[in-house]
């Protein structure tokens, strides 16, 4: 079977994010990912769209966000794109980690409330690539299909 893809489009409203998340979860289950992998891929897509809405679109409604789910023989690829005016500095992705080194877990004041999203994506997905060109900002997430 060749490459297949489906495109989702939402307005930049956080209330819409679960619609794509849950759809991606079901699609992943249908191509033999485990429950936990499907959940994790949903999480990464939700993180990416949420970043687009909160940061690239500055939390404003009225911006279009697209997610293209592409299935190949080897992997699932998700392209999350927006045309928000505040693209991410690519260095943020390079430096992103779930837990900065040297964190003291006994000091709750030193544990960040946010900033885990990119680190989570890098931990779960096989590849995370960001590009911003000609007014379009896209994050591409790739996960290899499970070995049969």
């Amino acid at each position: 079977m060749g490459i297949r893809s489906v495109k989702f489009t939402i307005d930049s409203n956080l209330e819409n994010v679960p619609l794509i998340g849950m759809s991606v979860n079901k699609l992943c289950l249908s191509v033999s990912f485990s429950d936990i992998d499907a959940f994790n891929i949903e999480l990464c897509v939700v993180e990416a769209i949420t970043n687009s809405i909160k940061h690239a679109c500055c939390g404003e409604l009225g911006h279009e966000i697209t997610v293209v789910f592409t299935l190949t023989q080897e992997d699932v690829m998700l392209d999350i794109c927006d045309t928000g005016a505040c693209p991410m500095n690519p260095e943020r992705l390079d430096k992103a980690v779930i837990e900065p080194p040297g964190i003291n877990l006994l000091d709750i004041g030193g544990i960040a409330e946010g900033g885990r999203g990119l680190g989570i994506m890098k931990e779960i997905m096989d590849s995370v690539i960001y590009r911003s060109k000609e007014g379009e900002n896209c994050l591409t997430l790739v996960k290899k299909l499970p070995v049969k």
């Binding site: 956080l14 209330e15 994010v17 679960p18 998340g21 429950d35 936990i36 959940f39 994790n40 949903e42 999480l43 939700v46 993180e47 949420t50 809405i53 909160k54 779930i98 837990e99 877990l105 709750i108 004041g109 544990i111 960040a112 409330e113 946010g114 900033g115 885990r116 999203g117 989570i120 931990e123 779960i124």
Partner: protein, 110 residues
């Protein structure tokens, strides 16, 4: 997401239902803020009904823990579904929250 309040002795239990994500994280923080204003800072958050959590949801729990810790209180987490528990472990937050199988065990631990 829905939040219901219950009591086990002097412990406030917040039972969450739905998705704890960027659109519901604010509700979570506001609920805990209301409790802290009444100095109710021995909390259990029952997440048995939470089938999805993202980094914003986790952030709301960290923020809430910080608020109650300042007043000498604590937040214990109970009844995590497997996939949600895995995200706590992935982000290492299972090391800063007490995590229990059910709300009774969490409340008794105070």
């Amino acid at each position: 997401m829905e939040i219901r309040e219950e009591k086990i002795n002097d412990v406030d239990v917040l039972k969450l239902e739905g998705r704890l994500d960027a659109s519901s994280a604010k509700d979570m923080k506001e609920k805990v803020e209301l409790l802290t204003k009444e100095n109710r800072v021995k909390l259990v958050i029952d997440m048995g009904g939470v089938d999805f959590i993202d980094s914003s949801g986790l952030g709301s729990l960290v923020s809430s823990l910080r608020s109650v810790n300042k007043l000498g209180g604590d937040i214990k987490i109970s009844a995590l579904q497997d996939q949600v528990r895995a995200i706590f472990e992935l982000t290492r937050l299972h090391r800063i929250f007490g995590i229990y199988n059910d709300s009774d065990a969490a409340a008794t631990s105070y």
